[in-house]
């Protein structure tokens, strides 16, 4: 799981183009949206692309991603349970 968390952080930094942020700067338990990292609705769409591209998980709408995208940890748990690649 630790490896997956690290990998996800790198994929998020890359896809969201988070300049000047390293994986260590992201608290895996902290909220990604609103407070915490402060991501928005477009970032949520990019996260949906990450799940599809690297893990073969298809979310039908951003609403479905709400619970999944709470933090890097919740994404990792969801990916571990649902990944098809």
């Amino acid at each position: 799981m630790e490896e997956l968390v690290k990998q996800l952080k790198e994929q998020i930094i890359d896809a969201l183009n988070l300049e000047e942020i390293t994986p260590d700067d992201i608290d895996a338990a902290a909220p990604l949206f609103g407070e915490g990292l402060g991501l928005d609705s477009i970032d949520a769409l990019e996260l949906i692309v990450i799940l599809d591209k690297y893990y073969g998980i298809k979310l039908a709408s951003p609403a479905d991603g709400k619970a999944v995208f709470k933090s890097v940890n919740t994404i990792a748990e969801y990916v571990a349970a649902h990944r098809t690649k």
């Binding site: 969201l16 183009n17 988070l18 477009i42 769409l45 990019e46 692309v49």
Partner: protein, 578 residues
Amino acid sequence: MKEGISVTGMGIICAIGNDCAQVLDSLKQGRSGIRKMKYLESVHRDIPVGEVMMSNARMHSLLGIPEGETVSRTSMMGAIAIREALSRAGDISGKRVALISGTTVGDLDITEKYFQRMKTDDSLLNLPHSNECGTSTMEMARLTGLSNAQVCTISTACSSALNAIILGCEMLRSGEADVVVAGGSESLSRFHLNGFNTLMILDRAQCRPFDASHAGLNLGEGAAFVVLTKDARNPLCYIGGYGNRCDAYHQTASSDDGEGAFLAMSEALSLSGLKASDIQYVNAHGTGTPNNDYSESQALRRVFGENIPEVSSTKAFTGHTTSASGSIETVMCILAMLHDFTPANLGWKSPVEGGIVPTSGHIGVKLDNVMCNSFGFGGNDSSLVLCREPRPLPELVKARNCTVAACVTVTSAEELSGLREFISPMESRRMGKLMKAALLASLKALQSAGLQTPDAIISATSRGMLELSQQFMDNIDEGGEELLSPTLFMQSTHNTLGSAVAIRTRCHGYNTTYSQGEESELWALRDAERLIRSSRADSVLVGIFDESTPAFDSFSQRTGTKVPAPLYAKAMILTAEK
């Protein structure tokens, strides 16, 4: 201008008809044009669209275009609608004519088809390849006998065509033209179908604006144009007023309180001299996305209070015709006025929480004053009031002179680190190079002029965010229309630059974007001068923004045309001369 601006002709082509008569019949019969994809080539066959039921070959022959000439679908649909509009408008020979079209896609339907091969095959470079939307309007002028007209293209995403009509009215009021043919045209493209798909706002069924089950929009295509003149005899109707304001909230979402839409509608009403209660029908922007429908409902409540007139979105008939929607729906409003009916909001069953209740349509209602809303990405919100009786509009007289208070130019990527003084890395995470340059030049110019928020923002860009747009086009081709990035698409509309400046400076004032090749800058400056000279703005930020890419540079080199600068952002602050 005691009789104001008259509409003397109109033409339309869209999913529910190829001319005014067919569109009128479909509207009255409640016949939707949302169907399975027929002409657009895309892997996303499950996405329904509102296509014009005419092949390119048929349009080609209808317009008498010689064999071997390739004209984009946007230009051909535009020309068909312009011809219809002119046929009703009477003789315009000897008049000073302007043709103003709103589009974002332009000739992209051709460019996207051949783009990869154009990189190596010189023989394909006789096709449209510059990715400028202004070229599609030049073609329309050529195909409709308007080659001698002043030609201009407005590109404010989904409000483009309404802003084209607004520019036409401004030019008539200031005496810059005698007759204006204004509207918009937009064909479907693989590019924006995939783009909207990455935003996950496309409904897989016929869209249901304002309905509790609404789940997004359907894309459509088409064109519509109106002919405008001053003090005409026996016109179809009159322009009552218009408003253009900016939501200045987000590049692809509307604010919860609908501020931009509220301001645009209020301004249109105020110019018309009418009260909110004088409006009997509103053709809503009503895309069918939960975000638009909620935001527009709040804005309508703020303008009309508890007495909201009959409102409908006609997008379940035509799909969202994006840049052309403003003129397509303007023509529908005029048809409704001329034939005493209100179009139905198809597919509506029950209200959304906090949403308005739209009309199911009525026959036999006399409409004296109607309103047409058109909102775009970046919060470029516009509204138009149309009236049965003449409404006097003040002429735009030159009350004062204009001067340049500050001017800042950014031309190299190295300078962009200077943006850190104004914006955090988190805020600029999605911005392409040109947007960073545009913001840096704009914020520095404002700083130098001692201003935080200008009264208006006017942009000029020939190709917009070319680097990210090309990347999106390449990704579509490489990845077979899958796994695409919304970040690339959301910055592909030309108005994204001016909108970014508005969002950053919280500028809710007039906001528009010109895209007419090298003439874009002149059009933008003319507009800024018009605002300042007539004392409607004290400070206007004019931005000239363009970039290039190696692929597009190679097209220029191989066709022997001028290779544009790799990065160019100039921001000027225009103010009144003291």
